[in-house]
């Protein structure tokens, strides 16, 4: 089952980057060319807005996998 947070993140991803995360949580910037640093800033913003959370500062500068974004969002939601 896909968690609500996972779908928020992948919807935000699709909207900002212009295509869905091809390999789900394992998707990396190498898989999706338009996931550049600018799109990443917008993506973090959209996730924060949609979930009403604040992600850790280092998330803004580290683009690893979509899964890392989901985990950070889940941690922020359960801490709030």
């Amino acid at each position: 089952m896909v968690s609500a947070i996972t779908s928020v993140v992948s919807e935000a991803f699709t909207r900002v980057v212009g295509e869905p995360p091809a390999r789900g949580a394992k998707t990396t910037p190498a898989d999706v060319g338009s996931w550049n640093s600018l799109a990443h800033v917008q993506l973090v913003f959209e996730i924060e807005q949609a979930l009403g959370i604040r992600l850790p500062d280092d998330i803004l500068v580290t683009r690893t996998t979509v899964g890392a974004l989901i985990e950070a969002a889940e941690a922020a939601v359960s801490a709030s």
Binding site: V41, F45, D57, L60, V61
Partner: protein, 610 residues
Amino acid sequence: MNSDAPELIAALRSTAEPGMWWRAATEVERFPEAFTSYVRRTVRVRVLATWSSDLLTRLLPAAGVAAGIGLEVTQAPYGQVEQELLDASSATRREPPDYVLLVPNADDLALGTLGERNPEEVVSGAVQRWSRLWEAARSAHIRVCQHLFTPPAGDPFGVAALQFPESPSAVVAQVNARLRASADVVLVDCERLAAEHGLRNWRDDRYWFAARQAVALTALPALARATAAALAADQGLSRRCVVVDLDNTLWDGVVGEDGIDGVGLTASPRGEAFAAFQGHLLMLHRRGVALAVATKNDPGLARRAIAEVPGMRLRPEHLAAVVADWRPKSEQLREVAARLSLGLDSLAFADDNPAERLEVRRALPQVDVIDLPASPSDYVAALAGRPTLEPGRLTLADRQRNASYVGLRAAAELRERSASLDDFLADLAMVASVRPVDVALLPRVTQLLHKTNQFNLTTRRRTSQEVAALAADPRWVCLSLSLRDRLADHGIVGVGFTALRGDEAVVDTLLLSCRVIGRTAERLLLRELGRAAAERGCRTLVGCYRATDRNALVAELYPQLGFASDGPADGEQRYILPLSALDQLAAPHIASDATRQDASDRPDERTAQW
């Protein structure tokens, strides 16, 4: 193809909600053709920023469409401001845009090191830096749109910061104050904008440290909207008339049911909200925006109510037109536009009734329809941020215009009474003054070159620098015409330029403000241009007409004035009149007042000598 364009435009004009703005930005990028009917003019803008402004740049075209201006935006690499403006081989200088958008941020001022520096030096250094860039743009014939600085949300001097010249807030305020005072540029006052938005929400430091994003993503729509509005206003595209309904818009209730004393503004808190809205409209009026009424009411009752409802702040003399009958609002608005000689795209319309708004939005998409919210306490806010109502550079003429519109109404009534046009014109007792364009007239003349569409023979939009250069050139004659009559002083309402080329004096520019069309002032202006040309040895006056989608009104002007057709050339129709026949351009109903140096002709703006 996108059918949501009208809804998106309405939303862009009334909210700054980021989700909606990004959706709109994407739509404008993907389907530009769906929005072209909202664009009245297109300009090229190059963004030179000291922060990572890519996201702002992406929002600008959508913001432009909402304000009625097409923005073709390119962006220089981050931080390349001096390099782009001072180096003649830069991309900006090689292909000069119409505007450079200068986007600084408070970190340029190194506010963190203020403790070690003289604050006055920091301020003057910053003012020097940006003024020098303005100068560089000016000499490259590029107009400047400058964002001002925003103070930091947290200041070590706390709430008292502005009392300490060495505080970051005071330094920012000083820099802004001096830039405002010396500006002959388009300003976007980010200090005021951020205050409206809330300083703590204006910038998110995480995004600054991580991505050099100096304005929070939630605040970017407001910034884009203000920027586009300032550019549109500079191009003369702001709405010139706000048309309002009466019942439940200007007062509390329905006058036809509740009676004149029943809708008063003094009896209740709701009444006060309507009075505050009227106060806001009155300020717009003082700023030069015409006000008019379109109401489904008995005409006699409507007029009486406007004069007699207790607590009214708007008086009959503030209203340039009152249309009261039972026709659809769209027809009433057409009549307002016709009476004021304005295009429908010069009107904004505010009505509390959603059905009336929908009818107008469908029938007249050119009109900016303002959705008044449910509570009258929110009416002011609905008008206040409207990008279509941004003031451009105000000249005294803007403030005079309203006196002139009211004079226009009186003139229309006079015309109905006068038996013939000749009687009417004679009755107006018009006095004109034709003067060479000089430094004091420059702002108003430039404004007319940018705003005039209908009575404009060639529609050449020139910058004030270009006009200044022509006015100083002995091969050119550049004249302005001001007109007053017994009903109103219209100020400067006509401009004519001729280029002297051997035997020929070519009328390069001839325009009249729509307020004085039909008064024969063009004859006077042409005659004076002709006289000046004859004095310098010319023999023929050459008139040119370049068709646009707005100036069909004057397509036949020259033949009507007795010029002979000389065929097409360079996309224009040419007409000629021997200067020996100049006397046929008499304007018997306009007296000349060549010596008049009325203060009312002087735009109240700071201008440079040349």
